[in-house]
Amino acid sequence: MTLIPELEQELTRALAAATPASRLSRLHRLPMLVPVAATLAGTAVALAAAGVIHLGSPERESSGHRTAAAEAESGLGTVSPANSELLALRVNDPGSLLPWGLRVARTSRGLGCIRAGLVLNGRLGALGIDGDFGNDGFFHPFPAVGTPRLIGCVPLDTHGELFISASEADVPTSASTLHRCSGAGANGKVPASALCAGSNTRDIYYGLLGPRATSLTYTSGGTAHTIIPQGPHGAYLIILPADPRDLNGVGTGLVPAGRPITEVTYRGGLVCRFAGGNPDPRSDCSTPPGSNYTQPNLKRLLAAAPQTRITATVTHDRHSAWSVTVSFKAPVAIPNALTAYAVELHNPGTPRLWGATDTDTNLDRGQRVSITFSNLTRPGHYSGTVRLTHRPSELLALGFAGPLVGRFSARIP
């Protein structure tokens, strides 16, 4: 990871936009040449075959100083080529030259991920249009391996199956994640100049409903539409014009979310209904029903954590800043992304949190863990806890709740 990914991304965007005009694509003129929406996707493939849509540099999510081995054992883990698959599902978009598609992947740390994008020649990616990639008009493949994008990953179930539903608001028709504009509904403080042109953005809903799903119904423009989940994973992908009343931001979970989706049916006659973007509380649909989905047995994992001795060492550097290093031996192994040790440090004389962090890396049982809180300036007795926590299925971030592993205190003079 870079230290300031926001700066790296903005530098890359700005430099791409500053490249000479001769590199700008003919793509912007193409819609006038192919005005019939229904033919766009097929035409795009032909244009690509003819060399009009060129292959650009891959979109880069992250990279940096960590080694591949370190990345494979920390955070979300990494994806190898053998664990990444572009699904056969394609959805045409009248506003895009290329069809949309999905790729699913499994990471080295036990997560399953999904990503939507445009498809060209069997690759998932984005187009350099509408301000992204300097309007170069090239097709920029998303990286198929490496560290997955944070959006669109959930824990696999105990059988290694992936059940996932994701939604993204205000996605540009370029499918790029290097957004230059913001959706009107995302933040009321976004200046008008930064807002996306409405016709150039989409709300997209996609996921894997499992092999037993038989249909999904959504509403758009006041009309109900029913689609059949595709393939052995029960894949679905819905591309709608962006509407801030329907969706803001991004979300990932085990079951569909988003106001347009109203119903999913499964073999055996089971029906899950959704209202306002949430499962009907009268039905047992908060986890994927009608299939063999079972949640990872976190209860057993968390109950296995005995308490251990925690040490806290206070150090002082030459710049008048104090640090507290919390150290302990891992009482249980952390084999994947589902669990981690969470460390909290509280201000002197108050329950107010000074800071919190987590290990979020694979650990052997008995392995020494050291975490340092730096730049403490307030004198007094700091206190803290170490807990074994888990990554909730519906959330990407690790939580800070869980069984207590130990307590510590440290005095800053």
Binding site: I4, E6, A14, L15, P20, R180
Partner: protein, 186 residues
């Protein structure tokens, strides 16, 4: 040649036609620049701002880099020092180079600020000491106090038990020497 293994001068040369080449250059030197500016400014948000302007200026001045006269790292730190000095003088970080590139204002996450703080704590001293290591001891001491600790010439003179004129001379000579070896952007 793969971008990741290309030498700095080639990356800067290729940056004119390949934003990715400059991104590789950025990733290669980001931590050093952050540690350097963070150690000197002691403010994480300010460090991000200064780092952004430093790399924007480096891109603008990429044709001036000559590997025969020093490392890209020294060249970048020279630019960074100029950006910092100008910000201290004017009470705000300059945005000229970023405006030329039409860079947008960054929205920085708390995770990023924490990472910046951590990098400064871990590497700040070492980076600054390395930057000063080529100077004679007296000049190094004067530059350190003046640039790092932002001490006045009067304070430094009192601490070193010499005249302000001598301190000014040492600081001036030290910075001049750094400028010559690092090809600091003028």
């Amino acid at each position: 040649m793969a971008l990741e293994s290309a030498p700095d001068d080639r990356l800067l040369e290729w940056s004119s036609s390949s934003p990715e080449a400059f991104a590789v250059f950025y990733r290669r030197h980001e931590r050093v620049v952050v540690a350097f500016l963070g150690r000197l400014s002691r403010d994480a948000e300010l460090t991000v701002d200064l780092t952004a302007e430093t790399f924007a200026r480096a891109y603008r001045a990429r044709a001036q880099f000559d590997p025969g006269r020093g490392s890209a790292r020294g060249w970048l730190l020279g630019i960074a020092r100029h950006v910092l000095a100008a910000s201290r003088e004017r009470g705000r970080v300059e945005t000229e180079a970023r405006e030329q590139l039409r860079m947008q204002t960054l929205r920085i996450s708390t995770e990023t600020l924490s990472a910046v703080e951590q990098a400064v704590v871990e590497d700040g001293d070492a980076v600054v000491e390395e930057w000063l290591s080529g100077l004679p001891e007296r000049e190094r001491d004067a530059v350190r106090r003046r640039v790092l600790e932002d001490a006045s010439y009067e304070q430094i003179a009192a601490e070193l038990d010499c005249s302000q004129a001598v301190v000014r001379q040492r600081v001036s000579r030290g910075l001049s020497r750094l400028r010559r070896t690092a090809m600091e952007e003028q």
